[in-house]
Symmetry: C2
Subunit: 340 residues, 2 copies
């Protein structure tokens, strides 16, 4: 539902978010709700990674203590420690998915995997109990094979290809059946390679690609394809790690969008003529694939067009106990804002 200047969205759900640990987690977890979202699908790449049901439930309790109102869907990190029995136990405990990281491509992914064959028994168990496999849509670079970005595919398990960035990935997912879906981040709707070349604040993994790839992301949202939905991959890093590189160590990969996510996504969808697909993209499509109906009482989130007289173009940040994070597009005045 939308009129010219206000929009209401039924219970926005972010199907890919990093909520970190310790003080940084205290700082960023409330931003999911402040950014307009009622549900967070939580990534397991902590130190150590979340590989057991017990760890996942402990982590969930901690997150609920920080923000009791947000619904947290938990995931396990695919690793050799995982067993079919643990999968069944996880399902009974309400854990929704298993995240597979290729080794070494993202923050805390050193325990990632290189070959899927050893995991077929796990995948069978996941299929039995209807858990979702979340594939990090990126393979480690291999110069000899000229490999930089690749979507992976498996079947007939329910699979989500995470954070698609290329036309090839979009077309691959579209060509597959109803068991395969795909998340798209907000920032990949805005960025191309030119934006992160030499600008560490726009650097994330997978990297933003070429204008034609970004156009493919826009197109699939504009057509309202039901198997594509928002997973922000919102990934906070302390600002010092985003702003500096030494010759030995580059900057941290990750873009932090949680605090402004719904307004940012609305702004971007309007920019490429997809405002009428907003509710599908940020709520209905993902909820349908994950079978997560809206349950919260305060499910509706309202947005209004901002008064441009209030534009400031001022950079802002969030701090807590010595942790500082600066969101994506800090200092950019968005067209939309949430009405509290």
């Amino acid at each position: 539902m939308s009129t010219a200047n206000t929009i209401s969205i039924s219970s926005p759900a972010d199907f890919h978010v990093h909520l970190r640990q310790g003080d940084l987690s205290e700082l960023v977890t409330p931003h999911v709700r402040e950014g307009g979202f009622r549900l967070a699908y939580v990534m397991p790449n902590l130190i150590p990674p979340i590989t057991t049901t017990v760890q996942a439930l402990e982590y969930k309790s901690m997150l609920e203590r920080i923000d009791p109102k947000t619904e947290f869907l938990m995931t396990l990190y695919l690793s050799p420690n995982l067993t079919p029995d643990e999968i069944r136990k996880a399902k009974r405990a309400g854990i929704v998915g298993v995240k597979s990281y290729p080794r070494g491509v993202t923050t805390n992914s050193d325990g990632g995997i290189e070959s899927y064959e050893a995991y077929y028994p796990i995948f069978e168990a996941m299929q039995e109990v209807d858990m979702v496999l979340n594939l990090h849509g990126e393979v480690p670079s291999d110069a000899s094979a000229n490999i930089h970005e690749n979507p992976c595919s498996l079947s007939p398990l329910r699979i989500v290809l995470e954070h698609a960035t290329t036309r090839v990935a979009v077309e691959t997912v579209k060509s597959l059946g109803s068991t395969v879906a795909c998340t798209i981040t907000a920032h990949h709707l805005a960025l191309t390679v030119d934006d992160w070349a030499g600008q560490s604040w726009n650097y994330c993994k997978p990297v933003a690609k070429f204008p034609d790839d970004r156009e493919a992301l826009h197109e699939v949202i504009r057509e309202g394809h039901p198997r594509f939905f928002l997973g922000s991959d919102s990934a906070p890093h302390p600002s010092i790690k985003k702003s500096t590189s030494s010759p030995e160590h580059g900057c941290a990969a990750g873009i932090y969008t949680s605090p402004i996510l719904l307004a940012l996504t609305t702004h971007l969808l309007e920019s490429f003529g997809a405002l009428d697909k907003l509710e599908g993209f940020v709520s209905k499509n993902g909820r349908a694939f994950y079978k997560k109906e809206v349950t919260a009482d305060d499910a509706m989130v309202l947005l209004r067009r901002r008064n441009s007289n209030t534009n400031t173009s001022k950079r802002y940040s969030y701090s807590w106990k010595g942790q500082e994070v600066i969101p994506f597009w800090s200092g950019v005045d968005l067209e939309w804002e949430i009405i509290d």
Copy 2:
């Protein structure tokens, strides 16, 4: 000439180098010779740009005061101020080339040009007096046209396509006649996109491309193609500008190789089986195209294979009056070193 563990090279010449201004120039100009080179083809993108013969000669005098032993070949910055008469005057004063920058793609290129038509009278005068046109092989990005990198071409003027980074550029230059040559930097023989993603110290313009592009650069050197030669594009920036990005401003683009240039180039050519083409690449090919015979007395430069017992893997830098620069691969032990 080479034996297993020593190599002698006749008067190495770097046909593309940035020597800057002020204290930074004092710091980096001697590094050309320390890095093993006897001739520097000097870029004109200062503030303000070098657009007249008078400016170029003043700049040359300053460089010669800093290092009387290095031969400096001077260039003018192509701009609407340039006239055919100024071209003839420049030629008489020993200026060798005119550098054309597309607007805005590199350090101090805001005065760059967008269309070549207005410059045809200049090009005619350059052809008359046998000056070289140096084309910055990069066009500004244009999302609507999906443009990121493009070689340009013109004829029948003598033209050098600077710092080729793609297979397409290499193949284009190979397909053209004897009036078109091409420089290749040392760092583009080492880097691909993965090296500068999130690592500002490896970020330069044009950016390093994909492994297959790098392979094309290796191939054309390995085959000893006479119209391809070294132009380091060595581009020092104060280390603070290389190491930091704010959300509003990215890091400086540029890689600094002068102080280690000959040893680095030797190391790299050996790594891809082109050590026997070293003298052609770093001296003879470029000198032949630019018609610059070896004149200096101390023309021979000797290299020897380093004793790996002396490896330190320690980062080093150069400082002068508050300016600090850190070279490319600082902390990497090269296979070769110059014998003083």
